[in-house]
């Protein structure tokens, strides 16, 4: 069905997608996790209760989440250029992908951490644990299965977003689908791209699910 050249192109695009999604997902966790922790710990009755900080973070996260990705991508181009030296290409696409995913991860983390039993947090407080110790030794380890599920969902969303980034020169499978499948009427390429995306999403979901279950299972 495909000649050698197409296999190479598709493989290359897949690599670009994995690169974009992998790096932006990792960065989003690095920045989103602390924000989620701040959202939970500064809320009312939290271990670092601070309504002002909580509101500011809440509003910023909501703004981040309400801007459509396509708009965000264009809007932060100067920022992207500042960081990567260019506003087009695979590496440049990582910037808007990360920026879009951070508030998403923050909310995920917030929800996961809030599920941790209040009594366990209290027990740690009663032992004389500091807020930092409670966060690192209680909140995050206790919420781990739920956090892994959250990261899985984030990665899958990023695969979707990355195809949009592709449409404006970010490379990857989305870019391939647009250039060959749409602009050159290559239905077979379009089909192959979609199949690969489906498999990719399926694979990430399975991997994340298994990992979360394994962590959960170890405890029961």
């Amino acid at each position: 069905m495909f000649d050698h050249r197409f296999v190479q192109i598709i493989a290359g695009s897949l690599g670009e997608t994995l690169y974009m999604v992998g790096v932006s997902c990792a960065l989003a966790v690095v920045f989103g996790l602390p924000i989620g922790v701040v959202l939970v710990t500064t809320e009312r009755k939290g271990i670092l209760e601070n309504p002002g900080v909580n509101q500011v973070f809440g509003v910023v996260v909501n703004i981040g989440r309400s801007i459509p990705f396509v708009i965000l991508m264009v809007a932060i181009m100067p920022f992207t250029r500042l960081l990567t030296g260019t506003s087009i290409g695979t590496t440049a696409a990582i910037v808007p992908l990360t920026v879009a995913a951070i508030p998403f991860v923050a909310r995920m983390v917030e929800t996961s951490l809030r599920e941790v039993d209040q009594g366990v947090i209290e027990a740690a407080q009663a032992m004389g644990a500091s807020p930092w110790e409670i966060i690192s030794k209680v909140l995050i380890p206790e919420a781990m299965p739920s956090l892994i599920s959250g990261v899985t969902i984030t990665a899958i969303n990023l695969i979707g977003y990355s195809t949009m980034a592709g449409a404006i020169g970010g490379g990857g499978l989305g870019d391939l689908a647009v250039r060959y499948g749409y602009q050159r009427f290559r239905g077979d390429v379009m089909f192959a791209t979609v199949v690969i995306l489906v498999l990719l999403v399926q694979g990430v979901q399975m991997f994340g699910g298994t990992l979360a279950r394994r962590v959960e299972k170890r405890r029961s």
Partner: protein, 363 residues
């Protein structure tokens, strides 16, 4: 246990603690002007019906709940006056166990037990050694690598106790530790607390709504009702002569005898001799073992009709209550009551039987 001089007045001291919870729609007074003193080495029970404020009270001791007014002292240190860092240090010497155990599901039994030591900054080798000793103390050596979800409720509470003891606390706070356990497990947990108290002289404050738990292991008890201390004293005294209605309600059925309806029928049916008294006799410790009834019948020539009787244990002392009808001439009755009090039986003359019956029938 090393004690400072000031401790004699109370290892844990609460002075006029007040706490009000304010919600958007209402104000709930949880505690009002509560003062208590817990002596070193004793097991001090705090009992009350749910919502009486007893849980809030114990949580004020380690400042999980910050009182609006009043002071808390533990081992001479004013807990209520500490900054957050000093409070964390002070909390390391105040152990606590909970109704819902509150174990970390992500950690094994041993890892849970050494958690406080980790926070205290003890090195790993020493942590594990101490943790294993504690596991042995609570009888769970074989569960070292198990996760909390693999344990029964009683086992979880044993882990909770081991964890609370890890930092060699001066006092152990127990917030309804047996309320979600079955009666048999409850007994074994109370027994463990009793052993720890006797072996290490550890001061224990036990919150509960079950008078039975108080009876089994406590030396002293405070009854909390509507956010106040209704009654406070030695468990024996509270059991033998409860004064507040909340205490009476809690005691009913555990070692204390009311005048049941059928006792009234017996009284009405029995002989119509004029000088009959309804008397409650409470026996504690030694006097329970003596044949007092037969000796007063023989020595003072009075008649005793036992209406109801019950024998039980308070901590390890036997304890009995008997409701009797005592008849004979005034002098003999007087003498026999004197005799009973002299040998350590607490005597409460409820009424003359005729007056008592008149009251009962009149209501």
């Amino acid at each position: 246990m090393h004690l400072k001089e000031g401790c004699v007045i109370g290892l844990v001291k609460l002075e006029s603690i007040s706490k009000t919870f304010t919600t958007e729609s209402s104000k709930v007074v949880a505690l009002e002007d509560v003062s208590l003193r817990v002596a070193p080495g004793e097991i001090f029970g705090i009992i009350g019906l749910s919502g009486a404020g007893k849980s809030t009270l114990v949580r004020c001791i380690n400042m999980l709940e910050v009182p609006d007014k009043g002071r808390v002292y533990v081992d001479g240190l004013e807990i209520t006056g500490l900054g957050s860092k000093e409070l964390r240090e002070a909390r390391k010497k105040i152990g606590m166990i909970f109704q819902n155990f509150n174990l970390l599901s992500s950690r094994t039994v041993l890892e849970n037990i050494v958690f406080p030591l980790e926070i205290a900054g003890l090195e790993k080798e020493k942590r594990l050694e101490k943790g294993r000793n504690l596991l042995q103390l609570v009888g769970l050596e074989d569960k070292e690598k198990a996760y909390p979800s693999q344990l029964s409720g009683g086992q979880k509470q044993r882990v909770g106790i081991a964890r609370a003891l890890a930092n060699d606390p001066k006092v152990l706070l127990c917030d309804e530790p047996t309320s979600s356990l079955d009666p048999q497990t409850t007994r074994s947990i109370l027994k463990l607390l009793d052993t720890i108290n006797k072996e290490f002289g550890l001061t224990i404050i036990l919150i509960t709504h079950e008078m039975d738990s108080i009876r089994q292991i406590c030396d002293k008890v405070a009854v909390i009702a509507d956010g106040r201390v209704a009654e406070c004293g030695k468990v024996v005294d509270i059991f033998t002569s409860p004064k507040h209605k909340a205490t009476k309600a809690l005691i009913r059925g555990t070692g204390h005898i009311d005048t049941p309806d059928w006792a009234v029928e017996i009284l009405e049916a029995s002989s119509q001799a004029p000088d009959r008294k309804l008397v409650r006799l409470s026996f504690v410790g030694e006097s329970t073992g003596r044949p007092v009834v037969s000796s007063i019948i023989r020595d003072f020539g009075v008649d005793i009709n036992i209406l109801t009787a019950q024998i039980d244990h308070i901590r390890s002392a036997p304890f009995g209550v008997m409701l009797v009808e005592l008849s004979g001439d005034d002098d003999s009755v007087e003498k026999s009551l004197d005799f009973l009090e002299r040998i350590g039986v607490s005597v409460e003359v409820i009424d003359d039987v005729s007056d008592f019956l008149a009251k009962v029938n009149g209501r």
